[in-house]
């Protein structure tokens, strides 16, 4: 199982806001094709951990390596260019652009050079790819509507589809199920598993929905107060008395 070397290595990352230790020495590693879950109570530092990995905020200490390269504190732009994608905890779509344009916008910058794109076809050669994703996420019927006019659940799907448009090597998903109705949660689960199988992507998923995490992630970390309290297979975590006390309750 440990034959393949890990390609995301987070080593002792810290983020302190004055006395608040939002992230306080977290290490984790992800191997190619692996899905890692992150759980923990509200305010335990999960989103902050993502943001430090993804260059949204500079860590107070620690290092992040991707494919053997030190990417600590790199800008989101540079990370996107290296094939690291993400979704945010809150909805982040381009409201006035059509659903299709949202998807194309998500991938067009990874094709060619900036001057080249000025002379490229309007769809940047991504028509086919966007059709594929629209089909996968069942968004064909709303493809030409402005993303901002759709329901929350639909926008959530667009948001996730956008992260996968450029076929990233690693995707960090911050609460993909939040605000999504139960039937859609099952669909989302199937989708992510399918994407993992067909495109070989690796994910790190923050989620409060334990059922979802159980089915999706073979390996889970539980964060409490900025630290990793426990990690292992989800079943083991569910049986761990410390995790039960800090997060899962009875």
């Amino acid at each position: 199982m440990t034959l393949r070397p890990s390609f995301l290595d987070v080593i002792d990352v810290r983020k302190h806001y004055g006395a608040i230790k939002a992230v306080d020495g977290v290490s984790l590693s992800v191997r190619p094709g692996e899905i890692v879950g992150v759980i923990g109570p509200n305010g335990s530092g999960k989103t902050t951990l993502f943001n430090t990995i993804l260059g949204q905020i500079k860590p107070t200490g620690g290092t992040v390596e991707f494919c053997g390269e030190d990417i600590t504190g790199m800008s989101p732009l540079e990370l996107a260019r290296r094939g690291v994608g993400r979704t945010f905890q809150t909805l982040q779509v381009f409201g006035r652009l059509s659903v299709r344009d949202n998807l194309i916008a998500a991938a067009q910058e990874s094709k060619g050079t900036m001057p080249g794109r000025l002379f490229a076809r309007p769809d940047a050669g991504l028509r086919h790819r966007s059709d594929e994703m629209l089909g996968l996420f069942r968004l064909e019927h709303v493809a030409s509507l402005p993303a901002g006019s759709l329901s929350y659940g639909q926008q959530k799907l667009i948001d996730i589809a956008m992260a996968f448009m450029p076929a990233p090597r690693l995707v960090l998903l911050d609460e993909p199920c939040a605000g999504v109705n139960p039937s859609l949660v099952d669909e989302l689960l199937d989708l992510l598993l399918a994407l993992n199988r067909t495109q070989g992507g690796s994910f790190v998923v923050i989620e409060h929905n334990m059922d979802f995490i159980m089915k999706l992630c073979p390996h889970v970390l539980c964060m409490v107060e900025g630290r990793v309290l426990a990690e292992g297979p989800p079943a083991a975590l569910q049986a761990n008395p410390q995790v039960l006390e800090a997060y899962l309750g009875n």
């Binding site: 381009f94 344009d101 998500a106 309007p122």
Partner: protein
């Protein structure tokens, strides 16, 4: 674009093209002025409407273009060369003005660009040796093209009209390319855009620079049209007026500036009878429009379509 729309567009363009035959000289002047301002407002629509930036300094670029034209045309430089120089100069200054936008947004950016406009205005007024100060620069020659003089009002109108169409067509092509989508992504959600590999620094600067270059081009035609320039038309209040044209017309809509520019060029003429009440009436109309039609005049068809769909 559907075939009917294309047909309607062609009809509108031809109708506009034959208007000069029904107008007296002042009407023709206003028509040409309309084309001139259109170049500037189309540029501003890119900066503000498509890329979501804020600018209250557009009139400064219009002025920089106009002063370049006034000085260089009087030296006898060829028009197209002057045009290129003015566009490049404004592009570069526009890039520089884009830098504050990387750090601040919205009202802070409004003040930063407004400050820039005030600075440029003061330079135009005080650097008398170059700009002629408040006396301005007069006797600016009209260009000739391939040996054909454009002195007359009608030839100059057609020259300006063709130039405006060319500029608008270039912008249409640019906004249809992936760049246009990147600008819109920057406007709708810069943080998300950056996480998807969209170089928001480059696109922000370019949005200002391209918009500024369009204003500079408009300024060159302005100088050639009026033949005499002084600082007043480049005061920041004109930046507000241009911004108004973009917003009233429908910011981020391709044909928005057309309607908006009609309003800023023609409404003052129509309201002339109102004399001192002019500004009050104008202000009232704008407020009323923004309350009832926040999407601007060009959103009227959409609104009807939505009503019809219900």
């Amino acid at each position: 674009m559907t075939r009917t729309r294309l047909f309607m567009l062609a009809v509108a363009l031809i109708a506009f093209g034959v208007l000069p035959f029904f107008l007296k000289s002042y009407g023709l002047y206003l028509l040409t002025l309309f084309c001139v301002y259109l170049m500037a407002t189309y540029g501003l629509n890119l900066t503000v409407g498509y890329a979501g930036q804020m600018s209250l300094g557009h009139a400064a670029f219009f002025g920089i273009g106009a002063y370049h034209a006034a000085i260089l045309l009087k030296l006898g430089w060829p028009f197209l060369l002057v045009l290129a120089i003015a566009a490049v100069a404004c592009f570069i200054v526009g890039l520089a003005l884009g830098f504050p936008a990387l750090r601040v947004q919205h009202h802070y950016l409004a003040f930063a660009t407004l400050g820039f406009n005030v600075l440029v205005f003061l330079m135009m007024r005080n650097e008398q040796t170059i700009t002629g100060g408040t006396f301005g620069i007069s006797a600016i020659p009209r260009p000739s093209l391939l040996g054909y003089s454009l002195d007359g009002a009608i030839p100059f109108f057609y020259f300006t009209y063709a130039s405006t169409l060319t500029l608008v067509a270039l912008l249409w092509w640019l906004l249809r390319s992936p760049w246009g989508r990147a600008f819109a992504a920057l406007r709708d959600n810069p943080i998300r855009a950056e996480s998807l590999g969209i170089n928001i620094t480059a696109y922000t600067l370019l949005a200002f620079a391209i918009g500024a270059a369009c204003a500079g081009v408009g300024g060159v035609y302005f100088a050639a049209l009026v033949g005499f320039i002084e600082p007043a038309p480049f005061h920041f209040s004109w930046s507000m007026t241009m911004l108004l044209a973009v917003i009233v017309g429908g910011s981020g809509r391709f044909f928005g500036p057309v309607l908006g520019t009609v309003i800023i060029v023609l409404l003052p003429e129509w309201l002339r009878g109102a004399q001192n009440w002019y500004l009050a009436v104008f202000g009232f109309l704008v407020v009323a429009l923004m309350v009832w039609l926040p999407g601007g005049l060009s959103s009227i068809p959409d609104r009807f379509a939505r009503k019809a769909a219900k």
